[in-house]
Subunit: 414 residues, 2 copies
């Protein structure tokens, strides 16, 4: 029976948190920048010290391979990412990558030979904050090509994507270059929940059944700017009045009625933005999520109709554009069963759940069976320097990954 | 009977609109910048050509004086300002200043001697857009001193106030320097309404009885940022949900119930401002206006209580700070009677009204009886390059100012 080394795992998380450490205890290790490169180098050094082979592909996805009994078989892939948000936490991504590496070391320590190779992956740019979109590495891996327009992208700090990608690859000169994409038997990823429900229900393991669909809308309401002091009600065409009324209705209507729906306004602004001027234009973003694609369509219509109704009353016009549309994804039930059995086998309570956020697993699931193992994070906080995972929960997630790995890669006693 | 030259007046408005002209037909003549200096120079040149004396004070307020029979009497002061918004109209300020100068020329043309001197004034920085606050010139004039902290102010373009003021004064080397503040018999100012009511009621002359009180509030609602996808309704503490609900209630409650009230949200923003993050903080400005100071207090309480109620429901906290508080001002009834008689005498329909916006007259009224003559502007548009005053309305305002000037300064046939 495989047993992971919890102290080694939590110590590794501490060690990686030093790379790009922020004053408030988080990390700033944005994709393809200096900190990201140093984290890749450290992982590659640890891998070589254990005799694992290290390779990378043209997207700088980093692979660490432990051979199986039959190396012609498609490997089991396990991992996550090492990049972070600019004021990110030390667990988002790193915990999953280091849990996967801990599984590789534990297999080695226990002298377990697997039927298939097991490959640890650290995907490039999951976060998407320095270069959009997120999940670039897994997206290109599953597509088998890098979209040509990515090479013309610029970072938020002005650096060109193509140059940063090349420099990152060159910062690991010892890693063998492999082509983009290869056959994968299955993919598993440990990740923090980034939400409060596991902690609130005191359950250490979430078995992820899929990722809910997300649609982003850009809403613009246009009225007429006028002087706040001189313009009576009858003469006002106030787009912010229309927008706030529409949003107030939607906040009341959407989420209480449908527990699976998520409705969030993350940005709002007005033009010209003078304290004493009725706005000419009011804008906001809308983030709607749902596991059911038909309900996403219905919610989009509901948003449009509520805002258009209020805009009509204020003699304002509305335009709504989709800026992002990601259909829901369902992970194969067999893989969820495997994780559930592994959790029970390791003595941990588990629950099936959906992921509210994207992950690399969503893209890998397009070319191979994929699923995820969630662990609780304190107060549901993530993308935040205060992000925290209890050591016992980190150990639990890794232990379940280890059992599932042995089950999926096939154990053959030497 | 004095008659102004309407063609000369409208031609002058055209001529001044060339200084700082924008492509869309407006002007950019911000206070103490190049365009403002050139407008002052042109007015001073016109004044000297007619033999009037030109002076300025340490705030660069510009004065053009036509002597009366008894020069020891306090002068009648008439005028407005020459500075504009960055994308301003050609009438706001310039029409009042050039109407006052037209009255001076018409007195000269008709050979009318007045008992008192008549002084035309162009106040410095009424708009307050390049340097805050607005009405700096009239404020300092009525206070008799320049607040010392103004000298440390920087323009929105980075230029230091003290340097720009000195350079503006030095750009009129021929003007006699006079101390700040002098006794004033009365002050009259022609101005565009900057609102739609005169045009809507087809009345050419507004007799301004006062300026409504204004209070500005900075509202901050604090909640907790969290991931839009992973955070269910029960775990949300969404400050924007609270703020939009509060504002939607206030828009419905305040203005329909009280026709004298004005309630405007000119700025709104959220932090961190990510499309997929529930905001940590939502902020807005509130501009409330009312002619009755007690109602201003009540409205402030109503705003606070509506937002606090909604914030409580979302487990958010609220802080509200006053950023500006200007009590209502009432102009002397006798001066309004004088304007009303002048309008009737010139054959124009007039109506008494309040000003929703500040003007220099508010500050002059602290040291001398003051009132204003409003003329209609198209669609109530102002602070806008499309601002437009029909020539016949410009003429009407100037004609009423001329009659009121003769009445207040006292006519003595030579």
């Amino acid at each position: 029976m495989i047993e992971i080394d919890g102290n080694r795992l939590n110590g590794r998380v501490e060690a990686f948190a030093v790379i790009g450490a922020t004053q408030k205890g988080g990390v700033n290790r944005q994709a393809l920048a200096e900190g990201d490169r140093r984290a890749r180098q450290l992982l590659a050094d640890l891998a070589r010290a254990r005799g694992f082979s290290v390779s990378q592909d043209p997207m700088a996805n980093l692979f660490i391979r432990r051979e199986g009994r039959d190396d012609s078989l498609a490997p089991l892939l396990i991992g996550s990412h090492l990049d972070s948000q600019p004021a990110g936490g030390r667990f988002d991504g790193a915990l999953g990558t280091l849990s996967a590496f801990e599984v590789l070391e534990s297999l080695e320590d226990a002298g377990i030979e697997t039927e298939r190779p097991v490959v640890v992956v650290a995907w490039t740019n999951e976060e998407g904050c320095r270069f959009a979109p997120g999940c670039m590495g897994s997206m290109a891996f599953s597509a088998g090509e890098i979209p040509s327009e990515w090479h013309r992208k610029l970072a938020t700090d002005g650096a060109p994507f193509a140059g940063e990608l090349t420099a990152t690859i060159e910062s690991l000169p010892g890693a063998q270059m492999v082509p983009l994409g290869f056959p994968v038997h299955a993919y598993l990823e440990v990740h923090i929940e980034q939400g409060p429900s596991l902690e609130a229900n005191d359950i250490p393991i979430g078995v992820v059944g899929g990722i809910q669909g997300t649609r982003w809308l850009d809403v613009t309401v246009r009225g007429q700017t006028a002087h706040a002091g001189t313009t009576g009600l009858a003469y006002r065409r106030d787009p912010l009045r229309a927008l706030t009324a529409g949003l107030a209705n939607l906040y009341e209507a959407i989420m209480p009625a449908d527990a699976d729906a998520r409705f969030t306004i993350g940005r709002i602004s007005v033009e010209p933005g003078s304290v004493n001027a009725i706005p000419e234009e009011a804008r906001c973003t809308v983030d709607i999520r749902h596991p059911d694609p038909d309900r996403l369509d219905e919610l989009e219509k509901q948003v449009a109709s509520a805002i258009e109704k209020e805009a009509g009353q204020q003699r304002c016009s509305v335009s709504i554009a989709r800026s992002f549309d990601m259909p829901p994804c369902t992970f194969p039930p067999e893989l969820q069963d495997t994780i559930e059995r592994a959790a029970a086998n390791a003595g941990f309570k588990s629950t099936r759940m959906l992921s509210g956020a994207f992950h690399d697993a969503l893209f890998v699931n397009r070319v191979a069976p994929a699923s995820m193992i969630f662990v609780p994070c304190r107060d549901g906080l993530s993308h935040n320097e205060a992000e925290f995972v209890e050591p016992r929960h980190a150990v639990a997630g890794c232990q379940v990954l280890a059992r599932a790995t042995v089950s999926l890669a096939g154990e053959t006693r030497r």
